[in-house]
Amino acid sequence: MLSPQSLALIDQEVAKYPPEHKQSAVMSALRIAQIELGWLSRDTIEFVANYLAMPAIAAYEVATFYNMYDLAPVGRNKVTLCTNLPCQLQGADKIAQHLQAKLGIGFGETTADGRYTLKEGECMGTCGHGPLCLHNNHKMHTQLTTESVDKLLDEMK
């Protein structure tokens, strides 16, 4: 199910916690699995649960509780735009409209070519630099303008 590299990364996470608390690594393990496979399928979640000796339903609870996990396939580039109040005050609405118009999709949708998925995000703890977005969960782009968004989208293959 997962590559030796991913399993090694999960093992590193497991090592952070007391041996009887492997479950503590489930958030990292799901993240690592998602990075390798693109999204979290039922079987992936079950695999991770078994790997950490925890009930599958408990792993599924985690996967559905934290909103950076993708439980359905997403585009190659997931763009999560924060639209919360500070970002909104700093122009996130305009960026949201621009993104949706440019990609022809709404929040929660993926372009037909599978290149982009657009998501609306909650506070990312970087409000002073808004408007901002996350690219594939881990790379943040700040102080967005319509021009910088255009450039960004072009760079995303």
Partner: protein, 428 residues
């Protein structure tokens, strides 16, 4: 500016140097000296706690609980493992100060956690980092490796015979994990649902073991306090409000960003540091302590000083020091709609009033914003809010109600206009 010369920049001083995050920069300016001294002198835990109490350091995460007092709750003679946990799950809209500590001053946090671990007799420490700032999660882990390589972490730290280790744990998109017991659940690999208290974490914390949880800025302030003494820290601020504090200024200002100022500084000064409101606009309202804090109208806010007591007196709270500035272009209904959506979206769903009530609040505000408000809606919002507030397991219930109640209280005519005219007073 350093940990060799006292200055009001407790946590942000490294930004005055090139490579602010490096171990070299930190150690070149007094970093890890407090730890060295404690380990060399085997400073008794009581002495350290006494210094922290003297400093009047209050939790920087939002609740403002006295840190020294919190530390004194940890059981002393406990035979099993104990833990120190740092809360960097910074997701309260408006707050972005802890991110900068990870980014620019990671070692001061590490040193602070080490001193806390030593003082509280902990076996290990975990730093829970907001999922969306994953780059800072990775960079802080690198800082840990640097510290480990330099002998500050692991077995026999600095030859003292003391073992302690630190780890980073990342969130993955759940505001509620900023609540300390939800955070513990999350570290345990579960849904981040707050625990009811009692028992408190000091007796039943991570893995059921005694645990102390402090905010990032709180822990990062500890090395400063141990270098220069609790009294010096207290004197940075004012009585009962010791120290300086990072304020995250966002919204309608010219220079949004973090500003570290002494507690007790007039709000007007902070506003000026942040470049003031945009040209051609006037200040309308300020949320002074993160989105959960009640909003204050401009005139009230301009009369406040930045400390826990002054803002509480004005009817809001200093919270995490997140100052959201709104100028006269803001539609308060729309602003509240976004905040109400946030609490609805982020309610963990565990307890009834919050699970059911936050959705109810949001749907009513949403209707008003979209021209379908009814005259009875405003009183209904307040009534529902009263049934949520105080009746939930954690503070998210109150956090969701705070904005609703204060927006309606201070800007009621704007809401009434919306209901009556099915459009916005501000011209959106």
């Amino acid at each position: 500016m350093s940990l060799n010369v006292p200055n009001h920049k407790v946590c942000s001083w490294t930004q005055d140097y090139d490579q602010p995050a490096s171990l070299a920069t930190y150690t070149a300016h007094g970093g890890y000296e407090a730890l060295r001294k404690i380990l060399a002198e085997k400073t008794p835990a009581e002495d350290i706690i006494a210094q922290v109490k003297t400093s009047a350091l209050r939790g920087r995460g939002g609740a403002g609980f006295p840190t020294g007092l919190k530390w004194s709750f940890m059981p002393r003679g406990y035979a099993g493992d104990k833990y120190v946990v740092c809360n960097t799950d910074e997701g309260e809209p408006g707050t972005f100060k802890d991110r900068d500590i990870l980014l620019y001053n990671p070692h001061q946090l590490i040193e602070g956690m080490l001193i806390a671990g030593y003082t509280l007799g902990a076996k290990a420490g975990y730093n829970y980092i907001h999922g969306e700032i994953f780059e800072q999660y990775e960079s802080w882990q690198q800082a840990l490796e640097e510290a480990r390589a330099a002998g500050f972490l692991g077995k026999n730290i600095l030859g003292s015979g003391w073992d302690f280790d630190l780890f980073a744990h990342h969130g993955y998109g759940a505001y509620i994990c900023g609540e300390e017991t939800a955070l513990l659940e999350s570290i345990e690999g579960k849904k981040g649902q707050p625990r009811f208290k009692p028992p408190f974490p000091a007796s039943f914390g991570l893995y059921g073991k005694p645990t102390t949880i402090n905010n990032t800025e709180t822990l990062a302030s500890i090395p400063w306090i141990m270098r220069f003494g609790g009294q010096a820290f207290l004197e940075l601020g004012k009585p009962n409000n010791g120290g300086s504090k990072l304020f995250s200024v966002s919204g309608h200002v010219n220079k949004p960003g973090n500003y570290e100022v002494r507690l007790g500084t007039p709000f007007a000064e902070l506003l000026e540091m942040a470049g003031g409101v945009r040209a051609g606009h006037s200040l309308k309202a300020v949320i002074p302590g993160g989105s959960s804090a009640p909003v204050l109208p401009a005139d009230v806010m301009m009369a406040c000083t930045l400390d826990f007591d002054s803002i509480a007196k004005a009817g809001s709270m200093l919270g995490s020091g997140a100052v959201i500035v709104m100028d006269d272009s803001v539609c308060m209904v729309k602003a509240l709609e976004r905040l109400s959506y946030f609490y609805f979206e982020e309610s963990c769903g565990q307890c009834t009033p919050c699970r059911e009530g936050t959705g109810w609040l949001y749907r009513i505000v949403h209707r008003i914003e979209h021209g379908q408000g009814r005259p009875e809606d405003l009183d209904e919002l307040l009534r529902i809010g009263r049934n949520i507030g105080g009746n939930t397991i954690c503070a998210l219930g109150e956090a969701a109600v705070g904005p609703v109640a204060s927006f309606v209280k201070h800007f009621r005519q704007e809401f009434e206009y919306h209901i009556e005219n099915k459009r916005c007073m501000v011209g959106h």
